[in-house]
């Protein structure tokens, strides 16, 4: 099924002459519309650059740079976390999945959401009580700094890289459609803007960009869903029955289809989405921007609410697109495929329900979404390099704020260049799908080490190292050997590893590896690490010694 989806998607991309020409004529016909989109987008960029300037004046210490000085409230942080989640990949990708396969889109979004309660119950407050700027602070709390921080930094960077690819591809497509700009130009533009936010504004600017965008996106999506419901007289039954009538798959869109082929794939995808959330460095980092565990908990509550609401909207929007976009030849090319590919279903729907001005608004918001999310990712990647690799591994903690921030800024520029390169390389991948891959890696490397470091007394550096690396390598390796890369990108006949999502296997490998190499570790260092568990436990439970991020 996914292979078929990819084939359809790929086919539309292999005929660039057809739809590029159409997109071009579309752009010419809709000239005033493009202006409104550009004006709104420029306004957003202008406003966020002002915030960045304001933030750069307030950022003095490393705590300001990495964690916004710990001054973000639970509500603000909840919105920002929701903003990180409501990426262009979710908005465009999931509404596209609903548009092409109906119910499968809901399955996908539920997987993303149910990780949240688990994060709150098991991780959030301990994380807030133990950490400073990155989740590696927590994972390496009582273990070997050099090894664990290197591992966590690598895990973070791989996840950030995959997530960035998804965002960059979305950005390129979107701007191509909206402005008629070249894909490469669009990707480079996004890369430069995201570097600006992170370089000058740090976490404070990144958070506020995310909050503004979350509010804009939620309002825009609410309006779209409302207009769709108005079209069907606020009758869900009518929404679905009309969709069944016009969709080529008919009744099949109302039940689980081919997103998951077999129980193993279903389970593996579920695990990746659920526990991957708890291993995403840019999300975990947000827990250090609030003052204490109480606010950390509140952020999860608000985030869960906003994300859940957003996914319900996306579902309605996807069905709305079936009704109003798939039936309208203006949104299709000569071959009957959507202009700009299926990922543009929501963007076309904006035009259908709100006219050209609203299309401009949604396009600008979708672009803003990409900017805000890539900025958060870049900051997380840059902190992994500067705070974990540079300050703790290379300099052994003997460095100052100024040098650390300088390294972080250099990394930001390097990540920007990398993101542009990878965005161009991975142009033809389905974007929602790429996010799934990032989650698999987060669930197999970052999550097991983080969880066991907080929960399991007998964890030792050796166990965490070997198990964590095994998880990371097996997740990446199985992905390369699986259908996604081995067949679709490397064009081999048949995949060596049959499943698209490696999480089920790589998580087991990671946990068993950590367990085995910890319990067999009889060294004196291991004994010391085990003895340190109880002071860590007291701090993780009570927050004793965990000052607000302000006082670091």
């Amino acid at each position: 099924m996914i292979r078929r989806l990819l084939a359809i998607f790929g086919a539309s991309l292999f005929a660039p002459a057809v739809w590029a020409a159409d997109a071009l004529t579309g752009a010419v016909q809709k000239q005033p519309l493009n202006i409104s989109a550009i004006v709104m987008f420029v306004a957003f960029v202008g406003a966020t650059l002002c915030i960045t300037y304001w933030a750069s004046k307030r950022n003095k210490s490393a705590a300001d740079y990495y964690a916004a000085g710990g001054k973000i409230t639970g509500f603000q942080n909840g919105l920002a976390i929701a903003g990180d989640y409501m990426s262009a990949a979710s908005f465009l990708g999931i509404s596209a999945l609903v548009y092409t396969s109906g119910y499968d889109g809901l399955i996908y979004s539920i997987g993303f959401l149910v990780g949240w309660p688990i994060i709150l119950f098991l991780i959030a407050e301990r994380l807030r009580n133990l950490g400073k700027y990155t989740f590696a602070d927590v994972a390496s709390y009582r273990l070997g700094q050099t090894q664990i921080r290197s591992l966590s930094a690598c895990g973070s960077l791989v996840v950030v890289a995959f997530y960035l690819i998804a965002q960059m591809v979305g950005a390129g497509k979107l701007i191509q459609l909206l402005f008629g700009l070249d894909y490469h130009v669009a990707v480079i533009l996004v890369g430069i803007l995201m570097c600006m936010y992170v370089l000058f504004g740090g976490m404070l600017a990144t958070t506020w960009v995310q909050i503004i965008k979350a509010v804009l996106l939620l309002s825009g999506a609410s309006f779209m869903a409302l207009m769709v419901m108005k079209h069907v007289n606020f009758d869900f039954n009518m929404l679905f029955s009309e969709a069944i009538k016009v969709h080529p798959k008919g009744e099949a869109i109302m039940s689980p289809g081919g997103l998951v082929k077999d129980p193993i794939s279903a389970f593996s995808l579920g695990l990746a989405l659920m526990f991957g959330t708890a291993g995403l460095p840019h999300i975990l980092m947000r827990f250090f921007t609030v003052s204490d565990a109480k606010e950390a908990r509140k952020s999860v509550l608000y985030a869960t609410g906003f994300i859940g609401y957003f996914y319900i909207l996306t579902f309605i929007i996807g069905f709305g697109a079936i009704l109003l976009v798939s039936t309208n030849p203006a949104f299709k090319d000569a071959a009957g495929a959507l202009l700009g590919g299926n990922n543009m279903a929501a963007v076309h729907l904006a035009d259908a329900v709100g006219g050209s001005i609203f299309l401009g608004f949604i396009s600008a918001v979708a672009f803003a979404t990409i900017l805000a999310v890539v900025a958060g990712l870049t900051l997380a990647g840059a902190s992994a390099v500067s705070h974990d690799l540079y300050a703790s591994v290379i300099k052994k903690g003997k460095t100052n704020d100024k040098d650390e921030i300088r390294v972080s800024k250099i990394t930001t520029v390097a990540l920007g260049a990398l993101a542009i390169g990878l965005g161009i390389l991975f142009e033809s991948q389905n974007i929602a799908f790429m996010v799934g891959l990032a989650f698999s890696i987060a669930a197999s490397c970052n999550f097991p080490v983080l969880l066991l470091s907080m929960y399991w007394k007998n964890l030792t550096t050796r166990g965490a190292m070997i198990g964590g690396w095994l998880g990371l390598i097996s997740a990446v390796g199985l992905m390369i050997l699986g259908p996604t890369i081995w067949v679709s990108i490397l064009h081999h006949e048949k995949a060596i590893f049959p499943y698209e999502y490696p999480a089920l296997f790589s998580m087991i490998i990671a946990f068993v590896g950590i367990w085995f190499f910890s319990i067999t570790d009889k060294s004196a260092a291991a004994e010391k690490e085990r003895a340190l568990y109880f002071p860590q436990f007291v701090r993780s439970q009570t927050g004793l010694g965990a000052s607000g991020a302000v006082n670091h």
Binding site: V114, A293, I312
Partner: protein, 103 residues
């Protein structure tokens, strides 16, 4: 940071009570969430026709829709239940422990 404070907290009955209550509560809620989600995934894998069944003969809404949306709502509700108790009862207990230890 003073090791003796950590030791005294670790041995305090209030701390043990807090840990016991909070861990229990957190694991129960996690089990509920995981249970609901696993049931949903198993249903997708082994009984997709259940999710595809119409709610009533004339309707086009299938059982999958309310179940899916219900799962989203339950995630929010469970989170709310935890935050309410943790930010009230558990935090009060926690503050009492920290106060006791500071003396």
């Amino acid at each position: 940071m003073n090791d003796s404070i950590y030791l005294s907290i670790q041995n305090s009955p209030r701390f043990k009570e807090l840990v016991r209550k909070r861990e229990r509560f957190a694991w129960i809620l996690s089990a509920i969430m995981l249970g609901l989600y696993s049931a949903f995934i198993l249903l997708i894998a082994y009984g997709p026709q259940v999710l595809g069944a119409k709610i009533s003969p004339g309707a086009s809404i299938t059982w999958g829709i309310p179940l899916g949306v219900g799962l989203i709502v339950s995630a929010f509700v469970l989170t709310g239940i935890y935050v309410r108790r943790a930010n009230g009862e558990f935090d009060d207990l926690n503050n009492a422990i920290l106060k006791e230890a500071a003396q």
